[in-house]
Symmetry: C2
Subunit: 199 residues, 2 copies
């Protein structure tokens, strides 16, 4: 398969790219460090990326961020950081990518445990993760042409334990092996409309 990995240089993206790369052709795209670049907060940049890459069989997005910080001071503008990036960035990858995806292809988006188990300062990311989960469930029914879509929702990954452990009190880190397996299940398996929870 020809697989686009968006966020191919990130903590999760690079490991997923390495695993899927054993068996498939990988087109890694990221904001800065790839031959084909993409800024997922821009629909025009997403359109240009797909035009450059052409038809493909699977897309994995391990990309997108949001506002992390004080709830008390959070403004509408802060909230739109996550809407434009992790939420609409990933949704736009599907809305535009469906024009190029081959029949029986698949989209795999990334969310996270905050969708249902938020922590302090995570409100914006909790919301956009839940939004993308619901998008995967709902879009799966309507994509057509045998195209599948799932969201992988990881907990705190062991590789990020030092960075995220203290701000996710009581969250039990999950192995990167399990996270990668979630992506493999979505791309190489048959499931669709699933939130693949890795926690």
């Amino acid at each position: 398969m020809k697989i686009i990995i968006v966020g191919a240089t990130g903590t999760i993206g690079k490991v997923v790219a390495a695993e899927l790369g054993k068996r498939h052709e990988i087109i890694g795209v990221s904001a800065h460090n790839s031959p084909v670049k993409v800024d997922i907060t821009s629909a025009a940049s997403i359109a240009a990326m797909f035009k450059a890459v052409g038809p493909f069989d699977a897309l994995v997005s391990a990309s997108g961020g949001g506002y992390w910080g004080s709830f008390e001071k959070m403004t509408e503008e802060d909230f739109y950081l996550g809407i434009k990036s992790k939420m609409m960035g990933q949704i736009n990858l599907v809305l535009e990518g469906r024009k190029y995806i081959r029949p029986n292809g698949s989209f795999t988006l990334t969310t996270g445990i905050l969708a249902e188990d938020p922590v302090k300062d995570s409100c914006n990311l909790a919301v956009v993760n839940a939004a993308v989960n619901a998008f995967a469930v709902s879009a799966a029914m309507e994509l057509g042409n045998g195209v599948r879509i799932n969201a992988v929702s990881p907990g705190v990954v062991e590789d990020s334990r030092e960075k995220f452990g203290p701000i996710f009190p009581g969250h039990v880190p999950v192995s990167m092996e399990r996270v990668v397996a979630g992506f493999v299940k979505s791309v190489e398996g048959m499931v669709t409309g699933q939130v693949i929870k890795v926690y």
Copy 2:
């Protein structure tokens, strides 16, 4: 209690206003048919509404819409209809309203069964409903001052059976009495951070 009901003239809002009005002071606001008006897609309009109404004990939002239609033709712009209205409209009611709400007050937002049980053409509303559910769960931890927040998520209401029944195949309509009870539980009860599912 002094209770603001946003969307006080809608199918659900008017019944909730009638029930809560038996025991509380109701300030009904809507886009057109109320002394104090509000356009929830505008943060400035929301700010003006709260300024006009002043301190309050509870806010019930039974307002907000989104894009309903062809998934195949759905654009980013269509998707923002729901983001700006039912999602950020309701979230902005909380972000701005927390400046005016009295200690131990409550916010009650409205979502719907599509968040987890979508139907054809409902993708945008499925997503924004799920987003608002996650907001209620997450914001409840951080509001402070004893302020509570919940989302009421109704199924198809019997009163709308004629309109929605055919486009929600296999959904079992719920009584308006049960829906109103969900709002009463949120406003007069003690729960917080809950998605009160009425289906």
